[in-house]
C-alpha cells in the first residue's frame, strides 16, 4: 500500500470540509480569532492532500 493515497484522501477530505465551512459559514469564529481560520487552514489541507495524491499517481505511472 502506498501510504500517500490514504493520507492524501484524508487531508483532501478534511480540506473540503473546512473550506466548505469557511465559504458557507464565514461567520463561524472563536472568541479570539479575527480571521476566517477554517477557510485558510482548509485550503492548505486540501492543497497538501492533492499534492500527496499527485505524488502517489506519478509513482505508479513510473513503475
Amino acid at each position: 500500500m502506498d501510504l500517500r493515497v490514504p493520507s492524501g484522501w484524508f487531508f483532501a477530505l478534511l480540506g473540503v470540509i473546512l473550506l466548505g465551512m469557511g465559504v458557507f459559514a464565514p461567520g463561524t469564529r472563536a472568541d479570539l480569532t479575527d480571521v476566517n481560520v477554517n477557510l485558510y487552514s482548509g485550503a492548505v489541507m486540501l492543497a497538501f492532500g492533492v499534492v500527496l495524491l499527485l505524488l502517489a499517481r506519478r509513482a505508479t505511472q513510473k513503475g
Binding site: 501510504l3 490514504p6 465551512m21 469564529r29 472563536a30 481560520v37 487552514s41
Partner: protein, 559 residues
C-alpha cells in the same frame, strides 16, 4: 468547550481512516517477523516520520505546552540540546550496530553483545516501562477530555484504547508505523494554526519579547526569562527551571537524551524496520528535521498563553486549587482560537498524538515480550506461527495492562516529573552500557550487568537522599535541589557515571568475549557501511551536517 456536529464528523472520519489502514494491512502479516518487525521493508520517509511520531504522545504535547507556559522557551532544550544531538549520534554511530547485528530488538542486541542476564534485565525493565508510559499517556488524555469536554474518563480511555488495539492487532508494527505517519501529519495540521494564531494575537515573537521584558512573573523573576533559552542558564536561581548549566548540559543534553533516543527500543524499533542499512541510518537523521521544529507548535503556544493572559482580552490561564493548571493550556487556547471545524481537527490531532504514543509502546512491548521474554525463557523452539499468535495475544494483554496503569496513574499528579523519574532510574545507566558495548571491546557481560544494577541503585539512592520541592529524601536529606527538574537531571548523571565506572572495573577483571564473536557488534570489528554510489543528499554525514547547522542557528536565534 463545546463541539459542533462537524467536529464529531472529523473525529469519526479519522477513526475510519486509521482502522481502514489497519484493515488494508492485515494481509501483509503472515509471519511473526511481519507482525513484530514489519519484515524490514518500510520506506525511509515513513520510518523517519514514525520515528518522531512514536515519541510525540499526548503527554509530550500536553507536557511540553505546559512547560512552555511554566518555563518559557527554555523548554526547547528538550529538543535543541537534548533530542537532536542524541538523534544524530544514534543515526551516525549506533545504527550500524543495531541494524548490522541482525538483532530483532534492543534487548537482543545486549544478548549478542554481552550475555543473557543483561538482556533479561533490560527486557523486563523495558516491558514494565512501556506499559507505564502507555498508561500515563492514556490517563493524561482521559483526564483532559473529561475536564475540557466533559466526556466520561472510562469511556474515552476505553474507546481510544480499543481503536489502537484494533489496528495494531490487524496489521502489527507496519500498521502502527503507517498510522503514526498519518497521525504525525494530523498533529502538525491540528496544532500549527494554533501556534500561528496565538503568537499573532500576542503581538508576534518580538511583541511577546517586549511584553515579557516589562513583566514580573509570579515567582518574582523578570518575564525576560521566558524568551531566552540560554541567557539565564548561568545560575539555577536565575531561571524558572531551577537548573544550572552543567546539570542541564550533562543531565538533559547528554545522559537523559542519549539514554532515551539511542537505547529506547520504542524509537529504535522504527529505524530497525527500515528497508536497508542505509535507510535505517537515515531514519533518525531525516526525522531530526521535523523534530527540530516541533517546539514551535508545542512549546511556543504555551509561551504565548502567558502573554495573552496579561492582555485583558478574555484569555486566562487555567486554574486548579489556587494555582495554575498548565496541563490545560493547549486545550483552553484551542477553545479560544478555533472555530467549529478547525476545533475538530485540533482535537483529532490530540487524539492522534495519544494513539501514536500508545501504539508505539504497545508494538515495542509486543516484540520484547514475544522474542526476548517468551521465546527466550518460556518456550524456545516453537514453529513461527506459534510466535505470531503469541505476538497477537500480547497486543491484547499489553493494551489491557496499559488501561490498568492508566487507573494507577490517577494517584500521581505531575505526569512529566513521573516520566523523568522513571527514565532516570532505568534509562540513564543504560546509555553507559551501550556506549561501552559498542565502542570498547573489553567490556564484558558481567561488567555490563554489574554496571546496570549499580547504576539503577545509584539513581534510587540519589533520589532517596536528596530533596527538591518536597519530593525524594525518603532515606534522609544530604542535599537540596532548587527544583525537581534539577534533581532528575542529577539522578541521571549519578546513574550514568556509576554504571560507566562499574562496567569498566568489572570489565577489566573479567574475561572478554572472543573478537570473532563480536564482529558486527563492536566498533573496530565491524565494517561501517559506506555507499559510494549514494547521492550526496542520501549520505548520512551530509544529512547530519545539515541538521547541525539548522540546530546551531535555532539555538543562537533563541539564546
Amino acid at each position: 468547550m463545546k463541539l459542533a456536529p462537524v467536529d464529531y464528523f472529523i473525529l469519526a472520519l479519522y477513526f475510519v481512516f486509521v482502522l481502514g489502514i489497519g484493515w488494508r494491512l492485515r494481509k501483509s502479516v503472515s509471519t511473526s517477523g511481519d507482525f513484530l518487525l514489519s519484515g524490514r521493508s518500510v520506506p525511509v520517509w515513513i520510518t523517519s516520520l514514525a520515528f518522531i511520531a512514536a515519541n510525540l504522545g499526548a503527554q509530550e504535547l500536553i507536557g511540553m505546552s505546559a512547560s512552555g507556559a511554566k518555563y518559557g522557551i527554555m523548554t526547547a532544550h528538550f529538543y535543541w540540546l537534548g533530542a537532536i544531538p542524541a538523534i544524530l549520534f544514534m543515526g551516525l554511530f549506533m545504527m550500524p550496530f543495531y541494524y548490522g547485528s541482525k538483532a530483532r530488538s534492543v534487548p537482543e542486541y545486549l544478548k549478542l553483545r554481552y550475555d543473557e542476564k543483561t538482556r533479561a534485565f533490560n527486557a523486563f525493565t523495558f516491558a514494565v516501562m512501556t506499559i507505564f508510559s502507555s498508561g500515563i499517556s492514556m490517563y493524561a488524555l482521559g483526564l483532559l477530555l473529561r475536564l475540557v469536554l466533559g466526556w466520561d474518563f472510562s469511556t474515552s480511555v476505553l474507546c481510544t484504547a480499543a481503536i489502537v488495539l484494533a489496528y495494531t492487532f490487524l496489521g502489527g508494527l507496519t500498521s502502527a508505523i503507517y498510522n503514526e505517519v498519518l497521525q504525525f501529519l494530523l498533529i502538525v495540521a491540528g496544532f500549527s494554526p494554533l501556534a500561528i494564531l496565538s503568537v499573532m494575537k500576542a503581538g508576534g515573537w518580538s511583541g511577546m519579547a517586549a511584553r515579557f521584558h516589562q513583566m514580573i512573573l509570579p515567582r518574582g523573576m523578570s518575564g525576560d526569562v521566558m524568551v531566552h533559552a540560554w541567557g539565564y542558564m548561568g545560575k539555577a536561581s536565575e531561571n524558572p527551571m531551577g537548573v544550572e548549566l552543567f546539570g542541564m548540559v550533562a543531565g538533559l543534553g547528554f545522559v537523559l537524551s542519549f539514554g532515551y533516543w539511542c537505547t529506547n527500543f520504542l524509537v529504535v524499533q522504527r529505524a530497525m524496520a527500515a528497508e536497508s542499512m542505509s535507510a535505517a541510518r537515515r531514519t533518525p537523521l531525516i526525522g531530526a528535521f521535523p523534530k527540530m521544529f516541533i517546539p514551535f507548535i508545542v512549546i511556543v503556544p504555551g509561551v504565548a498563553a502567558v502573554v495573552l493572559s496579561r492582555m485583558g482580552i478574555g484569555y486566562n490561564l487555567p486554574l486548579k486549587n489556587g494555582g495554575f493548571d498548565y496541563d490545560q493550556v493547549i486545550t483552553t487556547l484551542m477553545a479560544k482560537f478555533y472555530p467549529a471545524g478547525m476545533l475538530g481537527v485540533g482535537l483529532t490531532g490530540l487524539m492522534a498524538s495519544f494513539m501514536s504514543g500508545m501504539a508505539g509502546n504497545v508494538t515495542a512491548f509486543n516484540t520484547v515480550w514475544t522474542y526476548d521474554i517468551y521465546q527466550s525463557y518460556i518456550r524456545k523452539d516453537a514453529p513461527d506461527s506459534h510466535y505470531l499468535t503469541v505476538g497477537r495475544m500480547t497486543t491484547i494483554v499489553g493494551v489491557v495492562l496499559s488501561i490498568g496503569a492508566a487507573y494507577l496513574a490517577q494517584s500521581y499528579n505531575n505526569i512529566m516529573d513521573l516520566l523523568q523519574l522513571v527514565f532516570g532510574f532505568v534509562n540513564a545507566p543504560l546509555f553507559a552500557t551501550f556506549l561501552l558495548g559498542m565502542f570498547w571491546k573489553r567490556s564484558t557481560g558481567h561488567g555490563a550487568f554489574t554496571g546496570l544494577v549499580s547504576g539503577t541503585i545509584a539513581a534510587t539512592l540519589t533520589w532517596g537522599l536528596t530533596v527538591a520541592e518536597g519530593k525524594g529524601g525518603v532515606f534522609g536529606v544530604v542535599h537540596t535541589f532548587p527544583s525537581t527538574m534539577a534533581q532528575n537531571f542529577w539522578i541521571a548523571i549519578m546513574a550514568f557515571s556509576t554504571c560507566l565506572v562499574f562496567t569498566i572495573i568489572v570489565g577489566v577483571m573479567t574475561q572478554p568475549k572472543k573478537e570473532s564473536e563480536l564482529e558486527g557488534l563492536v566498533y573496530g570489528l565491524t565494517k561501517i557501511p559506506h555507499d559510494p554510489n549514494a547521492k550526496w543528499h542520501e549520505q548520512p554525514v551530509t544529512l547530519a551536517v545539515l541538521v547541525a547547522i539548522v540546530l546551531i542557528i535555532l539555538n543562537i536565534w533563541f539564546a
